[in-house]
Symmetry: C2
Subunit: 216 residues, 2 copies
């Protein structure tokens, strides 16, 4: 999470077991799906408290109300998690990476984290370089058997890699994408149905400044 | 390795199987025990060729001559690997980290890589801060059960962490250690006999400059 204490409060009346299950799922898609520098803190905490004073009909199980509550909870936590990434040390950009077509969700997660934590990828985003080579390389160095000819990579709607090689796109269009402060990446590996979405920041001079000048 | 093609040539007469075994071991303690930014390249290659024209008695098995050859080979490869770390993008320091007392060698390796690849640890070395907290934290975030009261950390000969807390050392002495361009760390985790030694560089402004300004 990045040394963060997160407290969520709701006045909803919700069964404890249902709340815990929905909270874990929402945390998995938000606080546990971000990376600033790949480091974790021993302090990282996410808590939710519900006091029930809304006096609604108790939310429980897999009912429609539980589904809606879970969806809203995920939206709130994702907004908070994204604020942390935007506020990452020296961050100038948020990169929203979706890995799809992995054999399993866990495999997609591993690839997504490898790309999100790669210093080479992060500095390329800081410099505004649409460097697909560093992304494919980070994904490929995970010991997962990639079927490279089936791998496809998109920067927003621009396909930059397919069939084992880079796809030339107009420089003007690539510049437009890389100049954004929120960039969506999609990496399709073409093996199965596993997906994972992660949010990360770029790595710039201010990350070094902040963390090198801090003294204990 | 860091996008490197390494070719080792020897005129020794040595049995192929013995050469391969000794080479793998030496590579494991050199090229595969360094980290600049934690990224691997698809090009990384290490080859050894022996043509036997020295006409020595063939080196084979676990004989004394094989032992000596293996030791010398490891020294050569370590010198080359250290040159790569010193030459790391923007590197100003080499950090020589030994993890000892892990349950297994693999566990020691995992802890060593976590510390060596931590951007927070690397920026602390760039800034000259003897930040033991970031080192213990990187080791502790690996999902390995650390018995914290038994963990000890040394910067050169200065013990900075033991019994679950930091040990105050004279600032002058700590400054002396951190000003070196080659710093030895020892992290003893007190669980078993697994050890691993890794060489890494710090992370400074020039790493960002070199990798952000490179354009494809």
């Amino acid at each position: 999470m990045a040394t963060m204490l997160s407290y969520c409060l709701t006045d909803a009346d919700i069964e404890q077991e249902t709340l815990e299950r929905l909270f874990r799922r929402a945390v998995g898609a938000s606080f546990n799906a971000i990376s600033v520098d790949g480091c974790m803190s021993t302090n990282d905490t996410a808590l939710i408290l519900a006091n029930g004073i809304a006096k609604n009909r108790e939310i429980k199980g897999n009912t429609a109300s539980a589904l809606v509550f879970g969806k809203m909870l995920e939206e709130v936590l994702r907004e908070l998690a994204l604020a942390m990434v935007r506020d990452g040390e020296g961050a100038t950009k948020t990169v929203d990476i979706t890995v799809e077509g992995a054999r399993t969700g866990a495999e997609a997660r591993r690839i997504a984290y490898a790309v999100a934590n790669s210093n080479l990828v992060k500095t390329a985003f800081f410099g505004g370089d649409p460097n697909w080579g560093r992304i494919i390389s980070a994904a490929g160095a995970q010991g997962i058997n990639l079927d490279v000819p089936r791998v496809r990579l998109f920067f927003e709607d621009l396909e930059v890699f397919a069939g084992g090689m880079g796809i030339a796109q107009p420089v003007r269009k690539l510049r437009e994408v890389m100049a954004k402060d929120y960039i969506r990446l999609r990496l399709a590996v073409g093996k199965g149905k596993g997906t994972f979405r992660i949010f990360t920041s770029d790595l710039g001079f201010d990350y070094v400044k902040i963390n090198a000048h801090y003294h204990t």
